[in-house]
């Protein structure tokens, strides 16, 4: 079951430098939200805070009605980060310890990403694309309510990247899981994002709120340092599908 995500007053400081926020966000249940921005703008820090890898200095994160729980979240990193000593199937089972239907879940997740025939292979025997598929299966297997993806396809060749992007969209149609994806690739943002949040920083702030229907030119404009998109419809208003939806924050 997908849940909406509420972020209120989220802020993070490293030493004396504020790298993120304060940030207020509401992510609709069952949507793919893409956060795009230049390197170092704080987008990965936002994701790490959401995933519990960083402790925010201020603010709160809430999934659905309850507080954030680790098992509610799946995380796909930029690199596959598979345990090299475990086979693919045991890597996929990494988040399912003690789960009564572990084997079924693993088999289903492997089939979903098209890796069922690679279950007994070691990570060193996989190509980059296969390894990232296995990492995706590991995140999917516990059936999380929120999946966080930190530039998951950036290290792949264009063919694997496009294939995995289509795979992700297919998975999203199947599971309707809420997803947050970090990228600095405009094409990827426009392909995957139901909603595209443009971040600038540090400290990381959302400067524009776009949709998949926006043009690459509008997205590029929003990504320019100090650049802001022209104001769109008021916050909370339903976003029109065409021709352009831009909401400055």
């Amino acid at each position: 079951m997908a849940h909406e995500v509420h972020i209120a007053g989220l802020a993070k400081t490293y030493g004396s430098q504020r790298v993120l926020g304060p940030l207020d966000l509401h992510l609709d249940a069952g949507t793919i939200t893409v956060v795009i921005g230049r390197s170092g703008c704080g987008k990965s820090t936002l994701l790490r805070c959401l995933g519990g890898l960083e402790q925010p200095d201020a603010g709160s994160i809430r999934i659905g009605a309850g507080q954030l729980r680790r098992e509610d979240i799946g995380y796909v990193f930029q690199e596959p980060r598979l345990m090299p000593w475990l086979t693919v199937s045991r890597n996929v089972a990494f988040g399912l310890r003690g789960h009564p239907a572990r084997d079924d879940r693993v088999a289903e997740a492997l089939a979903t990403v098209g890796l069922h025939q690679a279950a007994s292979l070691l990570p060193k025997q996989l190509s980059g694309g296969m390894a990232q598929r296995a990492a995706l299966a590991r995140a999917l297997a516990p059936e999380p309510e929120l999946i966080l993806l930190d530039e998951p396809f950036s290290a792949l060749d264009p063919f694997s990247r496009e294939s995995l992007q289509q795979h992700l969209l297919h998975l999203h149609r199947h599971y309707r899981t809420t997803m947050v994806l970090i990228t600095h690739d405009m094409d990827e943002a426009l392909t995957l994002g139901d909603r595209i949040l443009v971040m600038q920083g540090p400290p990381g702030k959302i400067v524009a709120d776009l949709s998949r229907q926006d043009t690459k030119a509008r997205l590029r404009e929003a990504l320019e340092p100090g650049g802001r998109c022209p104001p769109g419809p008021p916050a909370g208003a339903e976003r029109p599908q065409t021709p352009l939806t831009v909401r400055a924050l």
Binding site: G51, G52, R70, M83, P84, G95, A118, L122, K124
Partner: protein, 263 residues
Amino acid sequence: MARGHAALGAVVPLLTLAVWQGVTSAGMVPPSMLPPPAEMVRTLAEMAGSGELAQAVGITAWRLAWGFVAGAAAGTALGALCGASALARALLDPTVQALRSVPSLAWVPLFILWLGIFESSKITLIAVGVFFPVYLNLMSGIAQVDRKLLEVGVVHGYSRLRRLIAIQLPAALPAYVVGLRSGLGLGWMFVSAAELLGASNGLGFVLDDGEQTGRPERVLVAILLFGLCGKITDMALAAAGARLVRWQDTAMPVQGQRALHPA
């Protein structure tokens, strides 16, 4: 290719043997200093026939085995503790590092005073030799595990203990195997030292006896046996270790490891 490499490894010993035979046959070195290889073979056969060979190798191997087990167990326990806990590392590691600097022979009088001149002091000395490389390699192997792998445990809700067991210990296995092999090598060094300093049997005793009675062939036979036994035990440990770390994606598989080919 592997067979070719094994054959290549025999080149230096065979060349040494040929030069040795040539030097002794030409009378360039007196037999009282360096007996010919044939004399060594004869001595070896004599020792084997009288049972001295089996007895000497057996007792030395027995001491080494106990010392290795004790040293490796202590090194494993303390290495895991200091690797996993920054507090334990801060508390214990400086002392362990200081003790590591103590020359091995400096322990001998103390161990003899404390434990007597029989087996306990010898086994303890060997255990000290084995302990340090096992401790160091395991400790640094655990402490230096890739943070990125640990984060996978964090995002899956693994506790610290669970991360140690499921991520840090397996990731540290290659370093641990290196530590065990280094420890075994030092174990052989320390068993010879222990037996040289006060034993009535074992390969170290054969060394000492050869020196005391002016029989260099016995000294050389003992050296040869130390080398052979050390090589055999290291190969066995390397083969066992290679099975444990066959998942490593290395350019050159370690000895005894068979490469897996990508599908």
